[in-house]
């Protein structure tokens, strides 16, 4: 990676970061509204503690301030790709249980899914600008085990609802983290990705 950015690249990065910040801010507001509606319509307790759900990327991070720009982008991209799949699954489950009362919830879920997809794409743009290759989605690169991973057990309706709560809560945290990450990225810096080259894909 070049030690110094060209002025046009710097401008483009700042522009992408600003738009990304606005996207993430809007996404967060919509996720918070969706969370409120979800809790109410699913008959859940808003203060219920939900254990970490398998497959839900946790926004919590240690030494956040020490992350490089590339790390931030890669972690964000991995997270939103995961949320894209999780929200699609929630939407599918929602349609299976669809009642009149839930139609609005389904629409709100679909709207957030769209924003998550758009944000993931936006992150890919930023990574391309950083001259980083955009990692393939999980499943493309992993070697298939002989028998393949077993399908997750089908959850009960209540478990589905709790998982949905966990997904939306974590997504709301990610939206805040993404705003912060993009602000860090937008800061003028001689080397936004100090890590030597793209890290090996996990």
């Amino acid at each position: 990676m070049a030690a110094a950015e060209s002025p046009s690249a710097a401008l483009r990065r700042r522009d992408l970061c600003s738009r990304g910040i606005r996207l993430a801010g809007k996404m967060r507001a919509d996720v918070v509204d969706l969370l409120d509606a979800y809790v109410e319509q699913q008959g859940l307790d808003a203060s219920a503690s939900v254990a970490a759900v398998e497959g839900v990327p946790l926004a919590a991070v240690e030494r956040w301030d020490e992350q490089t720009g590339t790390q931030r982008l890669l972690e964000n991209l991995a997270a939103y790709r995961a949320f894209r799949a999780l929200l699609a699954q929630m939407l599918e489950e929602q349609r299976e249980q669809l009642g009149e009362a839930d139609a609005g919830l389904g629409r709100a879920l679909a709207a957030v899914l769209l924003q998550v997809s758009a944000f993931a794409y936006h992150l890919e743009e930023l990574l391309r600008l950083e001259s980083r290759g955009v990692p393939g989605e999980e499943g493309d690169e992993e070697e298939e085990e002989e028998d393949g991973p077993p399908p997750p057990p089908r959850l009960s309706l209540f478990e589905q609802k709790l998982r949905g709560l966990g997904v939306l809560r974590e997504l709301a945290q990610w939206a805040v983290r993404s705003v912060r990450d993009l602000r860090q990225l937008a800061k003028p810096s001689p080397a936004t990705g100090a890590a030597p080259g793209l890290a090996e894909s996990p």
Binding site: S49, A59, V61, W174
Partner: protein, 335 residues
């Protein structure tokens, strides 16, 4: 033999004179003053329904020899009530602090112990030297959905009590108020005031964690505030000030994305620019408690218009009424 003895307010206290027999002849003193024999039961000192004023040094002397046989420092007090605990992050994302106090004094020494748990992890809250009833924690993680649980236990020789707070990382973020708030008139602009301020110095990284601001202002003569929310910048020009009126202005701050608003800043006062007086208006300059100020009058900046508390005389009342009419007319004009 000497020690400290703690007793509750209202308790009945019996003190023995060390190892002296019940029927030994003794003299008791309290802070050096002899205690009347009516308080004695044999050689025992009996204090019924003790109150705070009975705290002190009690000494027992043997009969006529006046050998000191026993001494106790009686401290009358109370067990602690449930403490009041508050946790807040005014320096996000560095960490947060918790502070506490007792709702009522115990009058005897208390010790405080605080525990902080984040999920399953115990965290150490480092006590501040000043103030004593405060400790701080550095965030090890950011953006966690796992709640923090803080338990404060207060103990004294008469009992213990505790309280628990549970919160998530974002909920306790509350910056300190903005600093160095300055409000100035704008030359040749009778309806403008320029306000500027600075980020609170305790907020560590305003570039990465920008603050937004809420400005409120009103003329001193009115109770209703005007509000303006500002998403960036640390200055604002008020453009709808009443000419010639002294204003009070305050600013509050909040992280752009999370948490709650700070307290209001220290209030500043300012009066918009007014033109140099072309002629004198006698009534406006009689006393500081009467005025007939309107935008067309050349009143000095400190002049106040009719104050409910201003009672000077019937002449002043008439002037106040007139000023009110003119003000109303100007208000309509400027809507």
């Amino acid at each position: 033999e000497s020690h400290t003895q703690y007793e509750r307010v209202g308790a009945d206290v019996t003190m023995k004179c060390g190892s002296m027999d019940w029927d030994a002849a003794v003299t008791w003193t309290a802070n050096g003053t002899d205690i009347d024999e009516s308080h004695l039961n044999g050689s025992y000192l009996v204090l019924k329904n003790v109150d705070l004023s009975q705290s002190g040094q009690y000494s027992c002397y043997e009969g006529s020899s006046w050998h000191l046989k026993y001494q106790t420092n009686l401290r009358v007090g109370m067990p602690p009530k449930e403490p009041v605990l508050m946790c807040r992050s005014n320096n996000y994302p560095k960490g947060f602090y918790c502070s506490w106090h007792l709702p009522t004094p115990t009058y005897i020494p208390n010790s405080f112990n605080i525990s902080v748990i984040h999920g399953t992890k115990d965290m150490v809250c480092e006590k501040d030297a000043v103030p004593k009833n405060r400790c701080h924690i550095r965030y090890l993680q950011l953006f966690s959905t796992v709640k923090y649980k803080v338990t404060l236990t207060v103990t004294n020789p008469l009992g213990k009590n505790f309280t628990t707070l549970t919160f998530d990382e974002f909920a306790i973020v509350k910056p300190d108020p903005p600093e160095s708030v300055v409000a100035k008139p704008v030359p040749n602009n009778p309806r403008r005031l320029e306000v500027s301020w600075q980020n609170p110095s305790s907020w560590p990284d305003p570039e990465s964690f920008p603050l937004k601001f809420f400005l409120r202002y009103r003329p001193l003569i009115l109770d209703q505030w005007q509000h303006v929310e500002l998403s960036d910048g640390t200055s604002h020009t008020i453009t709808d000030a009443y000419a010639g009126k002294e204003y009070i202005i305050q600013v509050a701050a909040k992280d752009n994305d999370i948490g709650t608003w700070s307290d209001w800043s220290v209030a500043v006062h300012a009066t918009p620019w007014t033109e140099e007086p072309k002629h004198l208006t006698t009534e406006a300059q009689i006393t500081e408690t009467t005025s007939a100020s309107t935008s067309s009058f050349m009143a000095p900046p400190t002049t106040k218009i009719c104050d409910k508390g201003a009672v000077v005389g019937s002449g002043a009342m008439a002037v106040c009424w007139t000023a009110g009419l003119v003000m109303a007319a100007y208000s309509v004009l400027f809507i």
